[in-house]
């Protein structure tokens, strides 16, 4: 991926992100923050790649720490969001 292609992806993704939360009701602020926290848990993919390619004890130990932290992000983010959203079995739909 060369410079400008990446820049365009970056631009469009930023606009998409903005649009997604533009009309979110206040009651969903906390669950949505937790949900977006889970989404950046995708860092786990990069952390696994980094550890796979690591050479020498320094790279391996930092890469190992990276995978541990990234998994904590993804798993913790999923569980906490799911628990918060479980509560939204609403009888009255609030928009």
């Amino acid at each position: 991926m060369t410079g400008f292609a990446a820049l365009y992806i970056f631009l469009i993704a930023a606009i998409a992100g903005y649009e997604i939360v533009a009309r979110v009701p206040v009651i969903l602020h906390t669950p949505l923050m937790s949900g977006s926290n889970f989404v950046h848990g995708i860092v786990l993919v990069g952390a696994m790649l980094a550890l796979a390619e690591a050479r020498g004890p320094l790279e391996v130990s930092v890469g190992f720490a990276g995978v541990v932290m990234a998994t904590g992000n993804a798993v913790g983010g999923y569980v906490s969001t799911e628990r918060m959203l479980e509560m939204f079995h609403s009888k009255k739909e609030k928009a």
Binding site: A13, L28, V43, G66, M87, K94
Partner: protein, 479 residues
């Protein structure tokens, strides 16, 4: 970057995974679809991780030809080490403590982004191509590591393991740290610029990450606990951006897109949250809110509050027609939401009309209180927003304020010198009678005196919310 990563099945899976992550996030922004939104995103994540795992041995094979199996085991071991405690704490922690858990899970992602950047720089891979790569890797690492340090402080504060210590000369310390981080950022982008220092790239990058971490720690230290939602949300956006940047470094489109979307969505969410709390973003980060509040609290003279016995308070409500309950953080810390719902059902059985008035920032985060009440089984049609209910207080016989303070402080309406002036509040003071369940006589979370508690039609019921509500239920059984 090896050619293996451009394999069609891998790229196609990343494409589907990214789509699911975006659609999942979109669904989470509407109450009707929020619950399965997280499942969509979860499936997307699972696909991305599983497919990466399939291709990992091939990648390791290029680096450690005879040890690729061990390397795969090491990666799986790291996944287990990270997943088990996160799963365990995420499942077991009470919902009242969720905000600090979100802070720490979030921070871990920043640490991971920093670690990816570190490995890419230690190995020299980040320096192989154009200068754009180290620039993006280093800036991503700065955001990730700083947000990690800050998130740890946010966690410690919300967990009440740490206060907001006034460090003398903190502006000076923060200034020095910022300058050091900036210099190290530049040096890490192009280590040849500081070749005169005889520092290895390994040492330079490690010092850079360490200083960034400490910077995040110190910047967050003076910010009061009430502003933590805005702080956590800011770090969430920063880490999203860091993940997007590191995605560019490791040439992973799923990371670039998901990270950037979180960066943008998180930035807007931060602004929306700050607005809901009537705090400006810049104020949270750079003002001395705590200082003003402390001064205001110190100036107050001693006045008397009217105390009331628990059974009298229970009887007052039992013989009322309309009761509005204003739940606050005190209710949440006491874990009294279930008992409260029991009390409300007893009042309803006696023909009392009960409504819940939930301030947007009641609890510790916007929307937190709605989640807690829903957990206790309170139906949504009893829960009202600020705008929906504020005109009803004048017709209410009793406003029962439980562990809430700043959100019912009339100073926000009529005292221009108050730090919370202008914040929208619940007009509990307009009810015919106000009952306040409160643990002690102290000021609220923001440290501001509350005029409401000294009002002529206000009665204080002192005690822990859980204890008081339990006694009220007892008293109602005897009425």
């Amino acid at each position: 970057m090896s050619h293996i990563l451009t394999a069609f099945p891998l790229q196609a899976s990343y494409f589907i995974a990214t789509l699911l992550l975006i659609l999942g996030l979109k669904r989470m922004s509407s109450p009707r679809t929020a619950r399965n939104g997280i499942v969509w995103a979860g499936v997307g994540m699972l696909i991305a991780v599983a497919v990466t795992l399939v291709y990992l041995p091939g990648i390791s094979n290029l680096v450690v030809p005879d040890g690729s199996a061990q390397r795969l085991l090491l990666i799986l071991f790291a996944v287990v080490v990270g997943a088990v405690p996160a799963w365990w704490t995420g499942r077991r922690v009470p919902l009242t403590e969720m905000p600090q858990m979100v802070a720490i899970y979030n921070g871990l992602g920043g640490g991971a982004a920093g670690a990816i950047a570190a490995v890419e720089m230690y190995s020299g891979r980040a320096y192989n191509g154009s200068l754009a790569f180290p620039i993006i890797a280093v800036i991503g690492a700065l955001f990730g590591a700083t947000a990690f340090g800050g998130s740890v402080v946010a966690f410690l504060k919300l967990q009440s393991w740490m206060g907001s210590p006034r460090i003398p000369g903190r502006h000076f310390i923060n200034g020095i740290l910022s300058l050091a981080a900036l210099a190290l950022t530049l040096a890490s982008i192009h280590p040849d610029w500081v070749s005169g220092l005889n520092l290895s790239v390994d040492a330079l990058v490690s010092i850079f990450l360490g200083v960034s971490l400490i910077l995040g720690f110190f910047v967050t230290l003076p910010i009061g606990g009430a502003d933590m939602p805005v702080v956590i949300s800011t770090y969430n956006a920063c880490i999203g951006l860091a993940v997007g940047f590191e995605g560019f470094v490791v040439q992973n489109p799923a990371m670039i897109i998901a990270g950037t979307i979180v960066g943008a969505a998180g930035s807007l969410l931060t602004v929306l949250m700050a607005r809901a709390m009537n705090r400006s973003f810049l104020n949270v980060w750079f003002s001395g809110f705590g200082d003003v509040a402390a001064a205001a609290a110190a100036g107050g003279e001693t006045r008397t509050m009217n105390a009331m016995e628990v059974r009298d308070a229970a009887a007052t409500m039992a013989y009322s027609e309309n009761v509005i309950i204003v739940p606050g953080y005190g209710l949440a810390v006491a874990q009294a939401q279930h008992k409260l719902w029991e009390l409300v059902q007893m009042l309803q059985a006696k023909g009392v009309k009960v409504k819940f008035a939930v301030h947007p920032v009641a609890g510790r985060m916007p929307g937190h209180m709605s989640v807690l009440l829903a957990e206790a089984g309170v139906p949504y049609d009893l829960i009202y927003d600020l705008e929906e209910i504020n005109s009803d207080f004048a017709n209410a016989d009793v406003a029962l304020v439980i562990g809430a303070n700043d959100v019912v402080n009339p100073a926000a309406r009529n005292d221009k010198s108050s730090p919370i002036y202008g914040m929208p509040i619940l007009n509990a003071d307009q009810a015919k009678q106000v009952l306040v369940i409160k643990r002690g006589k102290g000021a609220g979370f923001s440290g501001i005196e509350n005029e409401l508690f000294f009002g002529p039609n206000t009665h204080m019921v002192f005690g822990d919310a859980q204890g008081v509500i339990t006694q009220m239920i007892q008293a109602l059984k005897e009425v």
